[in-house]
């Protein structure tokens, strides 16, 4: 049964390794779960989950796996079964016996029954009570002060209910988070080189000291080549009207990219809805201030990583037709889709980040253009997880057929 739980966790996307599973089994053997489901829940969570971002997945896996184990008011017979089964097996030490002389099985049953009644009345999930009460702790250590404390105040929720509450939903990394998290993701976008042809210009202090000491005090200097990030980034941001709803999110990404000082070069341009002949220098996208897209295509080396941020949803003609540009005073000879294809052909390391949650992509009103553009660029949603995946694809060439 437990092995299935392992696979359930895997199915829910939890990176559980056999090592951790093994230690969990050891911990169970050592009795750390206290033979209750809630104990098992906390033990499992502490041992198998390594980041708060996965708490929610664990909760979901747990509640789906254990959903059949219900709260006591639903299944009293089962509890009696447990009680009857567990009790005889319990090894009672002298000390325990002294503590609980007056409580025999019937007494326990009676008290448990009382509790269950209270539970039903208050409509709290009471697996807690049965967890500590119905299975061994109730028999094991009975009214051990520790047992009571655990069972006491505000903790009277079943493990399934605790898991079902999904209190850690907000920590999911596929939800949108702040600048800091974006920065964290961007940090992964690096490629250190200690260029073999570069000059050794950096004094390696530790090695110098070591060498000098090896020489019994005669100074010997050791030089190193500086390590540098070789990554260059071209960031293209949609500043069209439909992006206003996502301005905060885009701002966060922009701030994060800007603060990430480790890129060798960072260029930022703006466009309205779709990319045409012009890459604008500011969000107003006026003809006073732009760089021709041709120039970018011809002058930037193809190892620039291109990140395009936009909702990719527009009217069909904006993408497909010459002159489809939404600005009245401008006219584009080539349709937007052609420009995008050219960009993609030139820059193999490129990705499109869409602030619209992925689940809306297929049915909202821009779905057709989203689909079209996603055929050209790998498209990810603008969340921390999405950015993570985007950065992974920026590190390796991904073959996408461009017509």
């Amino acid at each position: 049964m437990f092995t299935n739980f392992f696979y359930t966790l895997k199915n829910y996307g939890m990176p559980v390794s056999l090592n951790e599973w093994q230690s969990l089994l050891e911990a169970l053997e050592a009795g750390l779960a206290g033979s209750s489901l809630i104990g098992f829940y906390y033990l499992g969570r502490a041992m198998l989950v390594k980041t708060e971002a996965h708490y929610d997945r664990f909760d979901m896996a747990f509640s789906s796996f254990f959903k059949d184990i219900e709260t006591p008011e639903g299944l009293p017979e089962k509890i009696w079964e447990w009680l009857n089964k567990e009790m005889p097996e319990v090894e009672v030490t002298e000390e325990m016996r002294r503590n609980h002389q007056q409580l025999d099985l019937d007494e326990l049953k009676r008290m448990l029954e009382e509790r269950l009644k209270e539970q039903t009345e208050e409509h709290h999930g009471g697996n807690r009570w049965v967890g500590t009460g119905g299975t061994s702790p109730f028999g094991h250590s009975g009214y051990h002060p520790g047992g009571i404390r655990i069972g006491g105040e505000s903790r009277n929720l079943s493990a399934v209910k605790v898991a079902g509450m999904r209190r850690f939903q907000e920590f999911r990394t596929d939800e949108t988070l702040g600048v800091r998290q974006f920065q964290m993701a961007l940090r992964k976008l690096r490629q250190f080189t200690t260029r073999l042809d570069g000059a050794r210009t950096e004094l390696d202090l530790d090695a110098t000291i070591d060498k000098t000491c090896d020489n019994a005090g005669r100074l010997e200097l050791v030089w190193n080549r500086p390590r540098e990030n070789a990554i260059k980034v071209l960031l293209l941001m949609d500043s069209g009207g439909s992006m206003i709803s996502y301005s905060r999110l885009c701002n966060q990404l922009f701030t994060a990219v800007n603060r990430t000082a480790h890129f060798k070069d960072l260029k930022v341009f703006y466009f309205h809805n779709c990319l045409y002949d012009w890459m604008f220098h500011d969000t107003h996208c006026s003809l006073n201030d732009y760089t021709p897209t041709d120039y970018i295509l011809n002058h930037l080396s193809s190892d620039y990583r291109v990140i395009i941020v936009g909702d990719a949803s527009m009217a069909l003609y904006e993408l497909m037709r010459p002159g489809g540009i939404i600005d009245w005073e401008l006219y584009n000879q080539k349709p937007g889709i052609e420009w995008l294809s050219m960009l993609r052909r030139k820059f193999e390391y490129s990705v499109w980040l869409n602030p619209i949650p992925r689940k809306y992509w297929s049915w909202m009103d821009g779905s057709y253009t989203i689909k079209k553009i996603a055929e050209i660029f790998p498209m990810e949603e603008l969340t921390v997880d999405g950015l993570d995946r985007a950065i992974k694809s920026l590190k390796s060439r991904k073959a996408i057929s461009v017509g």
Binding site: M184, D210, G217, G241
Partner: protein, 288 residues
């Protein structure tokens, strides 16, 4: 819970949730390091102090900085001092042992009693830092090549590691840890935490202040959410300032104690004026 004699159940100055004390006890009985994450101000560092206090052990704190190297935690070979000594002939330099200084981790291994070792803010250090400690934390021993000595822990220390999630920790490291995320305390827990710091607080004042505090925390656009320590300071300010409870919600006195960023204050003002813009992915305004 555990049958172990050393069951941690919180200490007088530190309110601990059952979940957390469970995790602590699991870590202690499995002899694995406990990795603690959580919002700033949820008492990550305090936890180690509380464990040390309640189990009556010494606490060794290893504060990690961005320049900290794993080696420093084990031992430092003071070569420069040895160089000086050899040049000025002040003492016998043939005894290398004299120049080996144990770091915090080494210190905790060498202690005669079991100690609590706090590795504070491990994420501040270099990405590779945790990996460099894998062996030492697993085996609780390390080798000093200079003196051909192996230092082994007399008593396996209880290792508490805190992280602010500035960097992702390597998987291999995480696999060896027990993990616990300290969730932000709910109002009930918060009340008991406050009562530790302000035992004689007027009921009405507390209620009003808590309500305002959680209201502020629930505004989604606020970037630096006020934390426990800020609430405690704020209560102090309210008491010292003699603010009447009825005014707290209306006037938000000493707001600077809670919100420390200008942007956040602006967000709050906008919110209060009812300017909150509904962001809905389905509404695709096509205006420019």
């Amino acid at each position: 819970m555990s049958a172990s004699l050393k069951a941690y159940q919180g200490s007088s100055g530190y309110i601990v949730s059952d979940e957390l004390s469970n995790s602590v006890n699991i870590a202690i009985s499995l002899k694995k390091p406990l990795l603690i994450k959580g919002e700033p101000g949820t008492g990550k560092t305090m936890l180690a102090q509380s464990i040390a206090e309640s189990l009556d052990m010494d606490l060794i704190i290893w504060n990690i900085k961005s320049t900290t190297k794993a080696q420093e935690g084990l031992y430092v070979y003071d070569t420069v001092q040895r160089l000086y000594d050899s040049q000025f002939g002040e003492s016998d330099v043939s005894n290398i042992k004299k120049y080996i200084k144990l770091g915090k981790l080494g210190e905790s291994f060498g202690a005669s009693q079991q100690v609590v070792l706090l590795i504070d803010e491990i994420d501040k250090a270099d990405l590779e830092f945790p990996n460099d400690l894998l062996w030492e934390l697993d085996q609780m021993s390390f080798y000093i090549p200079e003196t051909k000595e192996t230092i082994t822990a007399n008593q396996r220390p209880i290792v508490i590691i805190t992280s602010n999630a500035e960097k992702e920790l390597p998987d291999a490291f995480l696999r060896r840890c027990i993990f616990h995320y300290i969730a932000f305390p709910d109002p009930d827990t918060m009340e008991s935490i406050i009562s530790v710091h302000h035992p004689k607080l007027e009921r009405k004042l507390l209620e009003q202040a808590m309500e305002t505090f959680y209201m502020l925390r629930n505004i989604p656009d606020i970037q630096k959410k006020p934390s426990t320590s800020e609430l405690i300071d704020w209560l102090q300010a309210l008491v010292v300032g003699g603010i009447s409870p009825s005014k707290i919600k209306k006037e938000l006195p000493f707001l600077g104690v809670l919100l420390k960023k200008n942007e956040d204050l602006d967000v709050l003002l906008n919110q209060l004026q009812g300017k909150g813009n509904a962001r809905n992915p389905n509404v695709m305004g096509r205006f420019r």
